[in-house]
């Protein structure tokens, strides 16, 4: 297989890891002000992602670095094109990261509630924007013959991409609620569970609308595998919801994660061999062939990724194992 194809798959894998892990992170952040009614409850909620959120975020950083190294044209077109959207996301991630670290470093209630809302906004905005971004990639954006994005910020917002943003956000919030049900105790866990059951209904509706609009606005279903994968994602979500209803939270988490994985697979599968679709002229799309790095760079990176990604997975899995227990007030650091 061509190395650039391998890198297409690897970039997809990085996004899968990112959406799966950081998905519940974002969800937890969005739920924080609503589920946590007292300061200690909010500390517990933050404590549930405390040891892992930073490691999760690196999946995005690595995806960005991998795009730069393997598909420099995509890196250049995407980030100069989605300029203001990316700016909003970066500001959100800045206040979120600082908020998670700083919120418990001062006792005042105003200090803490300010950071709580910033963590909320800092989690909501990226979750939403990633949905907008992914749906824009498959729908197509104005890219000219010089590989430059020639639209504006508002061209990124269409009914389809806004539904995409809402659907991603809701899936992440549901995923986060299921995670919190696993990680918290007693009344707080019950509240998280009820939240998951309520949000799950809206999520299912949004996902169905998204799938329907994907038929209308994109050529994703031209690829049979992508179509199956997207419907399988819907199926996985329904299973997750049913598992949640009957109290099998662990299975519900696995299934909601699977729904995220399958959705990401579907979008990348539908894109292939393109990475960004040009709405002006199909020939101007960025593909694995015209956007990739030289064979030597790809080879080098393939060796590095082959050696290192399994190691990363191993120690990140070990982290989750080390902090597998439910969070209690006694082991809070933030």
């Amino acid at each position: 297989m061509d190395l650039s194809v391998i890198w297409f798959v690897l970039v997809a894998v990085l996004f899968i890891g990112f959406f799966f892990l950081e998905g519940f992170d974002y969800g937890v952040g969005v739920l924080l002000p609503f589920l946590g009614r007292s300061d200690s409850e909010r500390r517990l909620i933050i404590g549930s992602i405390g040891p892992v959120w930073d490691g999760n975020e690196v999946w995005m950083i690595t995806a960005g670095g991998a795009l730069f190294a393997a598909f420099p044209h995509v890196y250049a077109t995407l980030f100069s094109g989605f300029y203001l959207a990316l700016f909003l996301m970066l500001v959100a991630l800045i206040v979120r990261g600082v908020g998670l670290d700083f919120r418990s470093k001062q006792p005042g209630p105003n200090w803490r509630s300010t950071w709580d809302w910033l963590i909320f906004a800092g989690s909501l905005v990226p979750a939403l924007l990633w949905g907008v971004a992914v749906t824009n990639l498959i729908k197509g954006v104005p890219i000219d013959d010089k590989m430059n994005y020639v639209g504006t910020f508002f061209d990124l917002l269409s009914p389809y991409t806004l539904v995409g943003g809402a659907a991603f956000l809701l899936v992440f919030v549901y995923h986060g609620a299921v995670y919190l049900t696993l990680k918290l105790e007693d009344a707080l866990a019950q509240r998280a569970r009820r939240a998951a059951l309520v949000i799950g209904c809206f999520t299912a509706a949004a996902c169905l609308v998204l799938v329907g609009m994907t038929y209308m606005y994109t050529d994703l279903f031209a690829s049979i595998g992508a179509g199956i994968s997207l419907w399988a994602a819907v199926g996985a979500f329904v299973l997750s919801y049913l598992a949640m209803r009957v109290g099998r939270t662990g299975w519900a988490f696995v299934a909601s994660g699977l729904a995220i994985v399958l959705t990401t697979v579907a979008f990348f599968w539908g894109l292939f061999p393109r990475l960004m679709v040009s709405s002006l002229n199909p020939a101007w799309s960025l593909t694995v062939a015209n956007a990739s790095s030289s064979p030597l760079t790809l080879k080098l990176m393939t060796i590095a990724a082959g050696l290192l990604v399994p190691v990363v997975l191993a120690y990140q899995a070990w982290t989750y194992w080390t902090f597998r227990k439910r969070v209690t007030l006694r082991d809070l650091e933030y």
């Binding site: 892992v52 420099p72 991630l93 120690y315 209690t328 650091e333």
Partner: protein, 461 residues
């Protein structure tokens, strides 16, 4: 202002701000790791207290370094898309390797370290902070591999309208990296050492918690003293490397307009860039030749003849960086280095004699010295980056060819103002928090958390 200037301002502001936090992360992480190692080996609770106190300050700084680094990664794509297209084949690889070999480790194990005090064995917990410290420094290595290519390109071939890698080993063995990397890491150790010294001196002056701050001061002092000496040595080597790969930067640093043999080292001068001459020079004859050639004679090329050479090679245009700002930044950096050496040597001398704590003036100087490594780090980077102009990649791509062609000035204004405000607010908050905890001392920062007994997650029920 046009897009190019705005994009340059934005990069200057965001990267200078990012680099306020990086050196302390590099240096203090190693110091905290050393403290925890002493604790594990001796079981002395004092060192556990030290680890936790300095670790808390480290974490506030670390958080700001991480989030501002995020902006750095995406800024090349946002504002410098033509650069990214031209250089991605070479520049992307070290960046991706940084993520794979360093960021993952750093970010995963920092979480383990923060939350793992009661969950891991002592040794494993100490190993976690070592992993954080070493991977931070490894991360600096990859960034400098990328930056060194921009300063002194190696291992590439021009093909398909871009620079393509043809020798990865050459990238890794670039002589420029192997001076810049130790110089940067040592600069980090100076920053970390001076930080610990300054905060400790503040408390020694007030005779508060001396049993804690005496050993802290000693560790900071040893670190700062050794690193200050070595950072000066690598700085000296840098002059010789510049003479070879970036003679124009060297000439600008010295405001050396005419080629000279022997070349003098100029301490001060009034520089007239327009007329290309200096007035009122105070210089040391043969000093620059000595720096470059290790001998009082030897030719050093001047700006005028280098400009002519460049025009022959690259066509008409100005290849001269902004001489006065490079010249003065360099002098500020060197003065800062001399100040650091002086203060650390004096502190060490009186420490050995056991009379340091009776020298309030010196202790006050040690507190004030906290600002000095930051000045040295920032001016040092200014010299390195501004001295490379007009090139973004030396000899291969000029800055104006690198900027994103489709990003409007309005867009850059929005992000420029936005980042500046967010960064400004965060700076105030960060300095406030660090100041607060630093003044409180360890008594308030040590949390005696009991072992947690949460139930296991019943994943499969």
């Amino acid at each position: 202002m046009d897009e190019l200037l705005l994009a340059r301002w934005q990069f200057g502001i965001t990267s200078t701000y990012h680099f306020l936090f990086v050196p302390l992360t590099l240096g203090l992480s190693l110091l905290v790791a050393a403290m925890e190692t002493v604790y594990v080996r001796t079981g002395n609770e004092l060192y556990k207290k030290m680890t936790q106190f300095w670790g808390k300050l480290f974490l506030i700084n670390f958080a700001l370094g991480v989030v501002t680094g995020l902006v750095q990664e995406f800024e090349f794509g946002m504002n410098w898309s033509e650069y990214s297209r031209f250089m991605g084949d070479i520049f992307g690889a070290p960046l991706a390797l940084e993520a794979l070999t360093a960021f993952y480790l750093e970010s995963t194990f920092i979480g383990i370290w923060i939350f793992g005090w009661n969950r891991l064995s002592k040794r494993l917990h100490a190993a976690a902070i070592w992993i954080v410290a070493l991977s931070s420094n490894l991360s600096a290595f990859w960034i400098l591999v990328a930056n060194s290519f921009m300063q002194a390109p190696v291992g590439y071939v021009l093909r398909n309208g871009r620079a393509e890698m043809n020798d990865f080993a050459a990238l890794l063995t670039n002589p420029y990296v192997w001076n810049q990397f130790p110089h940067t890491v040592l600069g980090g150790l100076v920053t970390g050492g001076v930080f610990v010294m300054a905060v400790s001196a503040y408390h020694l002056l007030r005779r508060s918690q001396v049993d804690f701050f005496r050993p802290s001061f000693k560790m900071g002092l040893i670190c700062a003293l050794a690193a200050s000496l070595l950072v000066a040595a690598t700085g000296h080597r840098q002059a010789q490397i510049l003479a070879e790969v970036q003679p124009m930067k060297l000439a600008a640093i010295e405001a050396l307009w005419e080629t000279a043999d022997p070349a003098p080292f100029t301490f001060f001068a009034a520089i007239d860039s327009k007329k290309q001459e200096n007035r009122g020079e105070v210089s040391f004859p043969g000093g620059l030749s000595l720096l470059v050639h290790n001998s009082p004679t030897g030719e050093v090329k001047g700006i005028k003849s280098l400009q002519q050479e460049s025009e022959k090679r690259f066509g008409p245009g100005s290849y001269v960086p902004d001489v006065p700002s490079v010249f003065w930044s360099f002098r500020v950096m060197v003065a800062a280095g001399i100040w650091l050496l002086a203060v650390t040597v004096l502190c060490a001398y009186f420490w050995r004699r056991g009379t340091l704590e009776n020298k309030p003036l010196l202790l006050k100087a040690a507190v004030a010295t906290l600002a000095v490594p930051y000045i040295a780090n920032s001016t040092g980077w200014y010299v390195a980056e501004a001295g490379r102009q007009p090139w973004i990649v030396f000899g291969l791509q000029r800055v104006e060819q690198a900027v994103s062609p489709t990003v409007s000035a309005t867009s850059i204004w929005i992000t420029l103002i936005g980042f500046t405000i967010v960064y400004g607010v965060l700076a105030v908050i960060g300095v406030y928090l660090m100041g607060k905890f630093a003044k409180q001392g360890p008594a308030a920062s040590v949390e005696t958390a009991e072992p947690a007994e949460g139930k296991g997650v019943e994943l499969w029920t």
